[in-house]
Structures are given as C-alpha cells and as structure tokens.
Symmetry: C2
Subunit: 342 residues, 2 copies
C-alpha cells in the first residue's frame, strides 16, 4: 500500500520530462525512442494513472450516479441491471445512491452534484417537489429523470405509461367477468401512487364500472404493507373478486393474506401485480403483472445520459416506454388450493 509511482517518477527514470510522459501515456505523437523509454519505465514501476488528478485537470470523472429510491425494490434493481452494462461499455463507473424514498435524500443527491464527483445523474424520484424542480433547473451536471415530471420541465425524461398499464389490467379482469375489482395502492403523494390511483378510476369508468372508494386501500409499496392493506380490504368487502395491486410486492402480500383467509386465487379473487419483477414469475401462484418496462427504462435513461454527455446542448428528450400485460396463473391459472407457503 506504499505510495505508487507518478509521472514524475517515470520521467526521472526514463530521463525525459513529465510532459513527454503524459504525451506517451495519452498516445499523442512522440518519437519512437521516447515512447519506448517511457513505456519501459512505466512497466517496470507498475504505474497506474491517478484518476483523481486526471479528473481535476480534465473536469471529467468518468463516473455517473444512479439514485434509486430503494435498493430493495426489484423494479429499481431491474433498471440497475440494464444501466450498469451500458455505462460500463462507455467507460463510466457507476456510483449508487439509495435515497430510501425520502425527498430530503433526493435533494441531497442533487445538491451533491455540485461536488462534481460525477459527470451525470440518473434519478428515479418517488415524489417531485418544488425543490426538486428548482434544483434540477440549476443542477451542475446533466440529469435524467426516470418517472414523470411536470410538463415543460427542461430535463431528459424517461416515463412509464402506468395509466395504459392499469387500463390493460382492468380490461383483462373485466373480460374475465370480475366486477368488484379492488385497488391496493401506495401513497398518493408519490408520483406512481397518484398516477396509478387516477388510472384505476379512469379504467373502471371506461369499462362501465362505478368507482367505489370502499374498494380502494392505501398502503405503501412493500409486501408487509400489502398484507395489512389487503386484510383491511377483505374485512370491508368480503366478496371482492379481483385486486389490482400497485406493485408486485403488494401483490405478494395480497397472495399471503388471501391464502391465509382461505380464498382461492384466481377462482375467488384474481390478483394483478405491477412491474413484472422476477418475483412475479416465481411466486405461488405465479403472478399476472403489468410490466412497465423497468429494464427498458433503465437502458433508455443510461443511453439518454450518455448522449447528453457527448452532445451537451441538445433539446431535452422524452422517452415513453409502453406497458405490457403479462398474464400468469393469478388471473388465468388453473386450480390451486389455498395453502401455506412456510
């Protein structure tokens, strides 16, 4: 862990100036003989460029940050999985932030862009406040937002279309003959919560069902909260016949509670999740889920950011990813007894 060699060390050993060393290391035109001497010295010394000094001078860190709302949420992990290789291929390192869905942490991350430890940021905020927008406008590095921002915000933006997604799910449930379709949502003051709630109401009306607030329960985007919410819903409306869950974790919680209550899925209650995470394919019964294209959104965001890093001045772009309904056993499956899983 001793101090490593610097270009000065190399310069001395090779008997040239540090400028020549730098030129050789950067492949700038240099006499063969000099190249040889420098390379030899660098090899012998096991030289490695100091990234910090380099960044200071070049004003580029070759690092990009990804601020995810929750390291535990598979939807964000799906984004991460796509973002990582795209950045790696372009020679960027990935700095990972978890904001734990608290707005103050998101603001912190935006603020810290001023420290210039990254060249850009991909952020997926749960809420977009006034402060977010103000900081975005003055951010010291390019930002790509995954999620919806107000019309006219000058920022690269990747969106899911959860309205259409919910619509697909409700149409599907309606087509299966379900008429008492409940919704288990996350907090309404989050971007996805608000969007999915409104879309649910719209979609019901589109198929001619009345919106009934007794069929709606608000919790949070976690399995445990899903359990709580569904239990409450079941107490209130025992003959509910379908559940639209605002994400897969909530849906897994729903499956737990339904199973415990002796309800068969999908015969008694059909369940639809959202995000189509790995869990959906693996669950018991496997979960019909609305894919909002997490992977595609991650990839698109990474590509938008890279493009912006190359051509700094183009107009902000909006990419919208289309949803897809992935039908599995929890709505269209065959017999599955209610039972215990563990």
């Amino acid at each position: 862990m001793a101090d490593g060699p610097t270009i000065t060390t190399i310069a001395e050993r090779a008997g040239v100036s540090i400028a020549s060393v730098s030129r050789v290391l950067n492949g700038l035109p240099t006499r063969q003989e000099t190249v040889r001497k420098v390379m030899a010295a660098a090899d012998e010394l096991g030289y490695v460029r100091n990234a910090v000094a380099r960044s200071l001078k070049s004003r580029r860190t070759h690092q990009v940050a990804f601020a995810m709302a929750d390291v535990g949420n598979p939807a964000y992990l799906a984004m991460l999985r796509e973002i990582q290789p795209v950045l790696k291929a372009a020679g960027y390192r990935l700095v990972l932030h978890s904001t734990d869905a608290v707005a103050a942490d998101e603001i912190d991350v935006l603020h810290s862009l001023g420290e210039r430890y990254v060249d850009g940021l991909i952020m997926s905020p749960l809420r977009v406040t006034e402060t977010h927008l103000r900081m975005l406008a003055t951010a010291r590095a390019p930002v790509v937002i995954i999620g919806s921002v107000p019309e006219g915000t000058r920022v690269d933006n990747v969106r899911a279309d959860s309205r259409t997604g919910v619509r697909l799910a409700i149409d599907h449930l309606y087509a299966l003959g379900r008429r008492r379709i409940g919704m288990v949502n996350g907090p309404l003051d989050t971007v996805p919560g608000a969007a999915r709630g409104a879309a649910y109401r719209e979609a019901l009306e589109a198929v001619g069902l009345r919106y009934d607030e007794r069929l709606v329960e608000i919790g949070d985007f976690y399995r445990e909260e899903g359990r709580r919410a569904v239990a409450a819903l079941l107490r209130r409306v025992p003959d509910i016949d379908a559940l639209m869950c605002a994400n897969d974790l909530i849906a897994l919680g729903a499956l737990d509670v339904l199973r415990a209550a002796g309800k068969r899925v999908p015969q008694d209650v059909a369940v639809v999740g959202m995000d189509d995470t790995d869990l959906a394919a693996a669950s018991w019964p496997s979960l019909t889920s609305v894919s909002l294209g997490s992977a595609e959104r991650g990839k698109a965001a990474a590509e938008l950011l890279l493009d912006r890093l190359r051509h700094g001045d183009r107009e902000p772009r909006l990419v919208t990813v289309l949803p897809r309904l992935v039908v599995r056993a929890s709505t269209a499956g065959e017999a599955s007894e209610g039972g215990r899983s563990s």
Copy 2:
C-alpha cells in the same frame, strides 16, 4: 450548468484569502467576523466543495467500491442492500462494479485500485486465481474479500460455511427418507462450486449414502442452466427423489423442469436451493433453501472495510457466517399438483 464558484470566488467576494475560506469551511478556529463574511459569501454564491480537488489534496475519495460477480444474482443484491446503508452512514459513496463472473474483469478492478478513485474495495470473486492473490498482495487500497481465500492470505475475509450448509440440507433430506439425492452444481472451478460439490460428497458419506457420480450434474448458476442440468439428470436417473441445488436460481430451473415432467414437488422429488433469496419465499412451491447469510456477509464486509480504513494497520481478520436451513414447501410442503406457471 455554468462553472460553479470556487474558494477563490468566495475569497474575493468576502475580501479574505483562500486560506481563510478553507479554514472556515473546515471549521478551524477563525475570528467570528471572518466566519460571518465567508459564510455569507458562500451562501450567496451557492458554493459547493469540489470533491475531486479535495480528494487530490487529502488523498481520500470517500468512495468505496463493491465488485459483485453478477448484478442479476439476488444473493449479491442481498449483500448490496446491507453494504449500501453501512457505507452511507459512514459518509462513503458506493461505486458498483459488475464483473460478470469473468476473472479478467475482477483483475481489472483490482488493478484499477491503483487509479485511487476509491479508498477501499469489497469483492466477491467467483474464482481466486494466482493472479488474484498476487494483485491482492500488492493492492494499493484495502480490500475485503467475500468468499474463501487460501489459508494464510493476508486479507480481510468474510466467509460463508457452505460445507455445513450443504450438510444441513442433506441431513434434512435424509431424515425425510430420501435416498437418491442428486446434486446440481455450478462450475467446479469456482469457489462456491468446488466447496459445495465437495460438501455434498462428504455429507452423503456422513449419513451413510454412497456417492454416485451419475447423480451429479454440473451446469452454471443460472435458471436456464439449471433447467438444462436437471433435464439431463432426470433422463439419466428417472427415479431420483431429491435435488440439492447449488443456488436458488438453479432450483427454480429444477422446479420448472420437474413440473413439465409431471413430477410432484415434494412428493416425488424434494428440492433444496441455496442462498435463501427472495425468490425462494415467493416461488411455487415455495423453496426450502440453505441461507448462507448473504445479508450478514455483506454487512460484515462493509464493517471490516470501514474498520480497516480507520485503523490501517491491524491484523487481517476472518469472519465466518453460519448457515441456516429454511424449510419450506419444496421439501416439507403439502400436496401441490404439477401444473403450468405461465
């Protein structure tokens, strides 16, 4: 995105020297009046410290890297989930590398430590080659290895005890009356592959079963490979009655194939996975799995590294995390018909 203010800008505006600005910003003893002026100027200008320049001078980046073998593998994600908050709490940023399980990439990461863009590294290598060990010995920053390294390697090390883990699983299967217990393993030249393979053989002998190589199939640690391997195994030994899978993804693949082949789980074939990922609890049927304590290992590794960053010179430490068998439906569950999941 204009150029931000520097301490020079502040110094001019406050009418003091850059040294005073620096002192104020670092909370070193300074006259009240000066503090006031500097703070005021900094506020008005919206000054944020430049992390790169700071790092260059202080030789600390406040960044730590985590090199995971595979961003898609839930076992590593579980580590990530624990590592992230520990580092964040200590004021470190997390740089994430995915080495995609290729040794050359792991070496690259170790090499890049010389660039000094991080203060330390947590790495979970699949294979530990001679080159790994050589680079570890001369690494320019502290490294914590998650996984086994040869006796005597001078490095902080966190291990799972997969031998005992496999032993727990085999004992469980034996106690359930299974006698033709197969194993689906990953590549034998990986650390976990080798360890689990050897442990399987040992555990069989410990309960008095003969080791039969026809019951062993080597694939890779992915679901698709698990399918392939189990299909092969089933062709070779149609009356196999239990499967020890080297990780949960392989086990999920096993469930797919068994279901398609009309075998009931666990009545005809009991299945045990390894790593106890989220998928195990969600799968259909839910999966008995050996927890190797991914979360605990991640946490321990992060703490070891932080400790090493504070007291650079202590002896290398070894932390071993104990395995736990989590019994679920795939070995001890009730009736579940073979069926389709998608």
